[in-house]
Amino acid sequence: MRKNWIWRWAVSVAAVATAGCGAKAGGPVEIVYWTGWSSNELDSQQSLIDAFNKSHPDIRVRLVGQYGNSGYQKVRIAFAGNATPDLMSTVWADELASYAQRGVLEPLDPYLKQSGRDIDKEYVPSLRTSLRVDGKVYALAVTTNTQFIVYNRDLFAQSNQQPPADADELRAVSKACTVTGPDGGLVRYGYLPSDLRTWAYVFGGQWFDAKKGTITANNAHNVAALRWMASFNQFVDPMRAQAFQTSFGSDYSASGPFFVGKFAMWQTGEWASMFLKRYAPDIKYGFFALPGPPAAPDTLGTAGEYPSPFQKRARGRSREFDPAAVGGDPGRMRIHAADAGRAPAPVSYVNGSVFVIPEACPHKREAWVFLNWLTQPAQVKAFCAKIHNMPPLLSLDNDPAFNEDPMTRFAVWVSRSPRAVGPPGIAIWPEYSAEITRAEDAAIRGGQDPQAVLDDLQRRMTREYKESVEDLGR
C-alpha cells in the first residue's frame, strides 16, 4: 500500500511514543497488545499475560490499555499509518468486515490449521459466522454476549402478571405494570422497547441477504418489529417514557431505574447478575428470552438442530416450554409450530470485542502463539468467570463455573442458540447500524410510518452498499 510518507511518519512517531517498539536485541521478542478492557477486566487480562510470559520465555507480551471510544478510534489511525501493535482486541465484531475487507487484517485460517484448530467445532454458532468475513477467519474471541429481559417478580405479582409468551403479551404486561400519578406523570414503567437491530431478528427479519448480496432494511419482518415497538406509544407518550428513564442514573449504577424499582423490566445481558448482586441484592428477579411475534414467521423454522441438553424435558409440554429446565426462572416461552416438540431457540445479537492480528504488524508468528494460548478453554474460562461474561467455546458448556448462577446458566443456553446472530459481515455495517437507530427514533419518537422510514433506509443503504462494494473492489 502506497502511503504518503509524512502521514506515515507522523503516526509512527505517535505510535512509538505511546506503544513502544518491538524486539529487544538478544532477549525475548516483545509483542504489543492493545485492549479496550478496563478495571477488573484489564487486571484479569494482565494476570493471564503474566502467566503467559512466565511459561513462554522467548516471547514477552506487553499490554496497553486503550480506554473508551477514543481507544477504538485510535485503531483506525494506527491502520492508516501502518503503525499497529501486534495484536488487538480493540475491534468490535461490528467493525470486523470494515477492516478485513480493506485488507488490513491477517487471515487466521493458515495459523488455525497449523495449530490443528477448527472454529466450527470450538465456537458457538453465532461466532462461527461473525468471526469470518467472506469465508475467511479474521478474528478469535474469548467472550460472547446475550440479550434477554430481566423482570422484577414483586412488581409482576402486584400487577398480577406473569412473564410474556410472545411480543404482544410483552406489550400487555408492560402496560399492566405501568403506573401513572394523578398529574399524568409516570410513577413506574413496564418495558421501554429499544434496539430495533435486535428486535428485527426476533421477528424473523434480517438486515442483509448474504446469498443475494442485497440490503434488506425494509424486509416485512423488520417493518413488523418496528411497528410493534412503535405500538407501545398507544399507552405512554414515548417522549415521557424516555424522559422518565433518564430521570434515573445509568442502568448499571446504584440509582439505575430497574434497581430502584421504577422499571418492571430491563433488557440486558448476562453481566446483569453481577450488578444486581452489587446494587439491588434484595430485588427478586426472573428473566426471559426476547419473545417473538405471536404468529411464527416462516423464517423461524430452523431450530431443529439446536443442541439443547434440555430438549428432552421440553418435549411433550404442549406448546409451552418451561425454561426452569435450564435452571433459571425465565417464565414461559411459546414454541412456534415449526419447533413443536423441540426446545425454542431464543434470539440475541452478538457484538463483542474480538482479537485481530494486523496485516502490517512485525511479529505475526509470536502474536499467534499468544492468541492461540489465550483462546484455549483454560484461559477463556479464567477470564469469563472473572468478568461474568459468556464463554464462546462449546467445550465450556457444562463447566461448573458457568452453572452455579441461574442467570449465567440461562445466558449460556441463550448464547448457544442457532438464532443468536452476529453482524452481517459487510463493510458499511457500522454506518448502517447507526442509521437503524435513527430509523427507530424517527418511527417511535418522531411518529413516522415504520414502512416509510425503513423504505427510506433501504434506499439509502442500498446506495451506500453499492458504492462501498465498488470502492472495495478496486
Partner: protein, 298 residues
Amino acid sequence: MSTRAERTRLRNGLLFAAPWIIGLTVFYAYPILASLYYSLCSFDGIRTPRFVGLQNYRNLVTQDDLFWKALFNTIYMVLIGVPLSLLAGLGAALLLNQKVKGMAIYRTVYYLPSITPVVANSILWLWLLNPDIGLVNTALHHLGVAKPPGWLADPFWSKPAMLVMGLWGVGGGMVIYLAALQNVPVALYEAASLDGAGVTSRFRHVTLPMITPVILFNVITGLIGFFQYFTEAYVMTNGGPQDSTTFYAFRLFNRAFQDFQMGSASAMAWILFVIVLACTLVVFKSSMRWVYYGGEVQ
C-alpha cells in the same frame, strides 16, 4: 548586499523560530492541505486515497439529507446563540460594573461557570433539564406552568435547551466586556452628563460606541464557536432526538470516525471553512459602519 552580521542574525533568528516553523508546517499547514486533497478523494481513512474530483461535495449537497439537517441545526444555533450570548454577556458586564459592595465576589461567581469543563457542565445540565425531576421544570411547575417543555427529550426544545445551558457560560465574554467598560474614559460620561444626557443616552452614545471593538471581537469568536458546536451534542444527546441536535461538527466527526468516510468528512470541513470565512468577512465588512476605534472622526 547583506553583511556577514546580518546573515548570522538571520540564521540565528530562523534557528530560534525553527520549532514553530516546523511545528506549524507539519501539524497545521500539512494537515490543512492534505484535508483539501482528501476532500477530492474517495478516502476511508485507511487505504490510499483515490481522486474523484468534486464527487464528495456533490454527494453531500444532493444525496445527504443529514448534511442539510446538520447545517440547519448549526445555523439555528449561530443565529440565536450569537446575539443571545452577546446580550447576556454585555448585560451581566453592565450589572457587574456598578459600584456595589462585594463586587469582586459577584464577578467571581458569574465567571466561575465558564471555566467548568464542558463535559462536566453538560452532565450537570442533563440533570437540571430533566423533564420529570429536573430543577428547571420543578421551578416552572411552581411558577404555574402546567406543561413545561421536554427540553432535551423534545426535538423542538432540544436546541433552546442547549442555548439556555450556554448562557451559563457567558462569563468568558463578560469579563472582556467588563474590561472594555472600565476603559471608557470617565471624562466622556461627565461631558455627556453636562450636556444633559440621561442613563440611556449615555449608554447609547458613549458606552456602546466605545466598546464596539470588543463587541466585534466577541461576535466573531462567538460565530466561529457556534459553527463548531460539538461537545454538548456528543455528551448529552448523541445527535437526537430525531436528529435535532445533529450539528455540523458532530455529523463531520461521525462521517470520519463511524462511517469510514474521511473524504466526505474533509469535504464537510472545507464547506464549513468557506461558510465561516464568508460570515466573518461579512461581519468585518459591516464593522466599518458600526465599530468605532478611539480617535476616529465620525
